[in-house]
């Protein structure tokens, strides 16, 4: 086992997590609810050991084996879940640290289960972080790392361990470019969904704040489902709900399809059995759901 390599990569993951935590810190500062301290403290807790672990830079890089890849991937999921829970615990948003861990694991694994009864009582910075874990977990922190951190060819083992199934399907020959393309598509679709929500504001199809639209987008992009209101989506207008539904379907599609779409390989899309199966599911299921949504009167505007 190549311990130096494992620690070095974990250091990378920790630094990355620290960097990601700065985003909710900004949100917390904007809303001024006092949760920024707990977030910033966690970022520091991630960054310091992360930086120290980078000192373990392995001497020779071509020594990583498949099992090292598995260890790095599993360890980093555990570590980011444990550390990502700290802000909730420090602020006291959850009754105990264990609950905070539950919430974070649910976030990073895009499960969407929550122990919070009163979501609206949680300050905005923490709520943003909670939804952001969905977004990060949706594509995988390690894939992001592969896209941004220049690693040697051995990092293929990381992708292999990270991806479900025995074989890694790549869209372009270079793994790093593949990871970049994946995140590019992910980010673009995220932005599109936020814009779609904002159109509702523009044309009066339903009011939604920028904060809500970003958090809801994170929830549907990661196919997780954390909402920022106690009643979930129920109190939004049908337009907002429809945008969310469509987005959820689109984010559920295998991202290779979008790459084929961009690179105009339509024949490969037509042959894709996974897509066929996914579409046939949605051909029938949404009908009753849409009908029930549309027949309901608009809920009273909340303020």
């Amino acid at each position: 086992m190549n311990y130096r390599m494992i620690f070095y990569l974990l250091g990378d993951v920790l630094l990355l997590l620290g960097g990601f935590l700065l985003l909710p810190v900004i949100v917390a500062l904007i809303y001024g609810e006092g949760d920024w301290a707990s977030l910033l403290l966690t970022a520091a807790i991630c960054a310091v050991p992360g930086g120290l672990l980078l000192l373990c830079k392995p001497k020779q890089r071509r020594a990583m084996q498949a099992r090292d890849g598995f260890v790095v991937v599993s360890l980093s999921w555990i570590v980011i879940s444990l550390l990502g829970a700290l802000p909730f615990y420090f602020y006291g948003a959850t009754p105990s640290y264990l609950d905070a861990v539950f919430e974070t694991v649910s976030g990073f694994s895009t499960t969407g289960a929550s122990i919070l009864h009163n979501v609206e009582a949680v300050p905005h910075g923490l709520l943003f972080w909670r939804s952001f874990t969905h977004w990060l977990g949706g594509m995988g922190v390690l894939v992001f790392m592969l896209a941004v951190v220049p690693l040697s060819g051995d990092s293929l083992y990381l992708l292999k361990a990270e991806s479900p199934g025995p074989s890694v399907s790549k869209m372009v020959p270079k793994m790093r470019t593949s990871a970049m393309i994946l995140y590019g598509i992910y980010c673009a679709m995220t932005l599109l969904q936020i814009c779609a929500y904002q159109l509702g504001n523009l044309f009066g199809w339903g009011e939604i704040s920028l904060f809500d639209s970003v958090c809801l987008t994170f929830g549907s992009a990661g196919t997780g489902g954390f909402a920022v209101r106690n009643d979930g989506l129920a109190s939004y207008t049908p337009y907002i709900q429809s945008v969310t539904t469509v987005a959820m379907i689109l984010f559920g599609v295998n991202f290779s399809i979008y790459f084929f779409l961009i690179s105009r390989k339509f024949r490969l899309i037509a042959r894709n059995s996974e897509l066929k199966c996914w579409c046939s599911c949605w051909r029938w299921c949404p009908c009753p759901a849409t009908a029930s949504t549309c027949s309901r009167p608009n809920p009273p505007a909340r303020r």
């Binding site: 060819g153 293929l156 083992y157 292999k160 074989s167 890694v168 790549k170 869209m171 372009v172 020959p173 270079k174 793994m175 470019t177 390989k265 024949r267 490969l268």
Partner: protein, 456 residues
């Protein structure tokens, strides 16, 4: 560059590995998922499917690739795949064509087929072995201008007359060689000027014509008798090509082969060689056929273990130059630790040829590089340029050109005649020029000039 390799066999896998290390984007196509699985540890894209079908080739992105390399099992498949790939719009194609009977026909239609290069791994291996047998003391030999110019690398022995000699004085010996790079110690590389003093233990690279090189070896006290009697153990394709080249060189060749059928066909095709039907692992047979008196013994059977044993045996009974062919690339440190003479891995040789082509291709995108070698452990490059009428260097005597300091002109090839350049020589349009330099990234002959300072 984007490169599609069709066929994930031995050479395909080796190529993928080596080209990947040079930073190219590689896609590998093969019919068998298991073959693709063996290269799953490489950062390449794999496409499962028949590499001759349009659909698979499109899926592999041949239409946007810069180079397609077909290394499937049969020549016909490779040619067809290259033909289709070319039609789909790939920039260059390389096909592995083994059958020597096709060689002439393919040369005839090569341009029509749009083939950039054909590769015969066995012929390439045989040529490399033959080069070493002709100058057994060289560490490494690279060739330019279709073999008319050679770049030799040798280690100066302790009692060499060159020890302590200035290069200027060497010039007076009229040796016809040009020392273009000197490695000293573990790290130092020099492109020497006239005042450079050689030391024993230096590893010198010099440019010369093949015949001149042999004379030079003699002069500087390195025993370099080209081999006269060669024994080849095993009668496969490499043996056949090697025997032909050694016979052309004037050596006597003895081939020992265990299959009667192969022996008959060899004796028909090589009337001047002695073909012995027998088991090359039989000690008595080897002794009977005079292995002690041979100048060179090459173990070339298809079984690595036999080759190793026979070479070790040959080493114990003779002082001949030993050549061992090893197919397997694993256990390389074991192979290195045994005294097997010059060890050749045919698949590395084949892959090297293609890698060299790819480098030259990459270097020549918009330039006129003909050949490129990385020499002295990748610290220097030897390039061959073709001079065009537009080149700024043409027509001016070399001594009046303002050349870059870390660069040397090794040879000028004018219509097949090789000039060892002196200050009064000029470069003329149509010449090819061999340049040795520690600067990387020379793309054009004009790059050998010192960059003119921008005038205000």
């Amino acid at each position: 560059m984007k490169i599609v390799i069709i066929g994930a066999g031995k050479i395909g896998a080796t190529l993928a590995d080596q080209l990947l290390r040079e930073g190219h984007e590689i896609t590998v196509v093969d019919r068998s998922a298991e073959a693709l699985d063996t290269i799953s540890t490489l950062d390449v894209m794999t496409v499962e499917g028949n590499g001759i079908t349009l659909q698979t080739l499109r899926e592999a992105g041949v239409d946007t690739a810069d180079l397609a390399i077909a290394v499937m099992s049969t020549d016909e498949e490779n040619l067809l795949a290259c033909l289709i790939a070319k039609k789909l719009g790939v920039g260059n194609t390389i096909a592995r064509v083994r059958n020597p009977e096709y060689a002439e026909g393919i040369r005839l239609v090569k341009d029509d087929l749009g083939l950039s290069m054909t590769l015969n791994p066995e012929l390439a291996s045989a040529s490399e072995i033959a080069r070493i047998l002709r100058a057994p003391s060289a560490i490494k030999i690279d060739t330019f201008s279709k073999g008319r110019v050679e770049l030799h690398k040798v280690r100066l022995p302790d009692n060499s007359p060159l020890d302590g000699l200035k290069l200027l004085e060497l010039g007076k010996m009229h040796s016809g060689v040009l020392i273009c790079a000197v490695e000293r110690g573990a790290h130092d590389v020099y492109i020497p000027s006239g005042n450079f003093v050689l030391k024993a233990g230096d590893r010198i690279s010099f440019v010369a014509k093949p015949r001149t090189a042999a004379k030079f070896f003699h002069k500087i006290g390195i025993p370099s008798e080209p081999v006269k009697r060669v024994m080849l153990l095993g009668g496969g394709r490499i043996s056949y090509y090697l025997a032909r080249q050694m016979l052309d060189f004037g050596a006597s060749v003895k081939i020992i082969e265990s299959s009667a059928e192969v022996c008959e066909s060899l004796s028909e095709r090589l009337p001047d060689a002695d073909i012995i039907h027998g088991d090359a692992t039989n000690e008595h047979l080897l002794a009977q056929e005079g292995i002690e008196k041979m100048d060179a013994v090459a173990s070339l059977t298809g079984i690595d273990e036999e080759n190793v044993l026979m070479s070790l045996y040959a080493r114990s009974v003779t002082k001949a130059k030993i050549v061992t062919k090893i197919n397997r690339t694993t256990f390389s440190h074991i192979v290195k630790s045994m005294d097997l003479g010059s060890v050749f891995h045919p698949r590395y040789i084949a892959a090297d040829h293609i890698v060299r082509y790819v480098r030259a291709m990459q270097n020549s995108l918009g330039s006129n590089v003909e050949t490129l070698y990385k020499i002295v452990g990748n610290k220097a490059e030897a390039l061959e340029f073709r001079a065009t009428a537009k080149s700024a260097v043409c027509g001016t005597p070399l001594m009046e050109l303002r050349l870059r300091p870390d660069l040397l002109i090794g040879a000028i090839n004018r219509n097949g005649r090789i000039l060892t350049p002196s200050g009064r020589d000029t470069i003329e349009p149509g010449d090819t020029v061999v340049v040795v330099t520690t600067v990387t990234g020379l793309n054009d002959l004009d790059d050998i000039l010192e960059k003119r300072r921008a005038r205000v």
